[in-house]
């Protein structure tokens, strides 16, 4: 599902403004309306105010690993949406956190925002096409 005008909404949560700006620009070029948050309270507020089709969350907001519970909340609130997490390295425990939080994929922070957005937009389209018809999410 998208906004009632067919607009897709994305939430980007990252502590660095520079990174948020990069993702916002790239997603906007792909026709996605983007809401950004630098911290957990702002992200939670945004979740109460929009329906997000896509979320990209840093696994580290104010301390290591505190992005995972947020990703889990996003999965519970928007179960049909695409959630990607930016991680320092995709080791076993990171991937376990991703699965157990209901995240669709993880992207290493060394990857360029361009390649992440390309992958996210393609994957979100796939998630959308796999949704059952008549499902309200």
């Amino acid at each position: 599902m998208s906004g009632w005008r067919g607009t897709k909404f994305a939430l980007i949560v990252h502590p660095e403004l520079r990174v948020l700006a990069q993702y916002q620009t790239l997603l906007s070029k792909n026709g996605v309306t983007t809401v950004v948050a630098r911290d957990l309270p702002t992200a939670l507020l945004a979740i109460t105010q929009h329906y997000f089709d896509i979320a990209i969350v840093s696994s580290q907001l104010s301390e290591a690993g505190d992005g995972w519970p947020l990703a889990g909340v996003l999965h519970l609130v928007f179960p049909g949406s695409y959630i990607g997490v930016l991680v320092p390295g995709a080791d076993l425990l990171t991937l376990q956190s991703a699965i157990n939080s209901g995240v669709q994929d993880v992207y290493e922070i060394t990857q360029s925002p361009q390649s992440v957005v390309r992958a996210v937009v393609a994957a979100a389209k796939l998630v959308e096409s796999n949704k059952p018809s008549g499902h309200l999410q």
């Binding site: 519970l76 080791d91 076993l92 991937l95 376990q96 699965i99 157990n100 209901g102 669709q104």
Partner: protein, 133 residues
Amino acid sequence: MVRKPSLLIVDDEPNVLLTLKLVLEEDGYQISTAGSFAEAEKLMVAVGNFDAILTDLWMEKEDIGLELARSASKLKPRPVIVIFTGYGSPGNARAALGVPVDYFALKPLDVDELKRVLNRLVVANTAERRWQS
């Protein structure tokens, strides 16, 4: 009468199978067990409609639990899929993420956490099934 949620537990170690069966039966689930991938596939066809499938990763072959998870993910309605393993690696965890698996647990299992997570996932999945029908 309320139907008990049904689980299929798959592991080639009989002790693990028996322990999980006893623990989860006590938690109110109706349990079927299989000692191999092949046996589990037969049960999925014969019994079908499990609320959750919990499988070991390594049985007859390395990472064969992933094949079972892929088969289970195609079932309609889709059951909750849990993989547990003593041989977790970034490779098989990434493959599990791609299935996708709902929960990935490393052995030795924390049984209390497994019970809590399973309850949450089964309740959510049942609600979604009702919503879709």
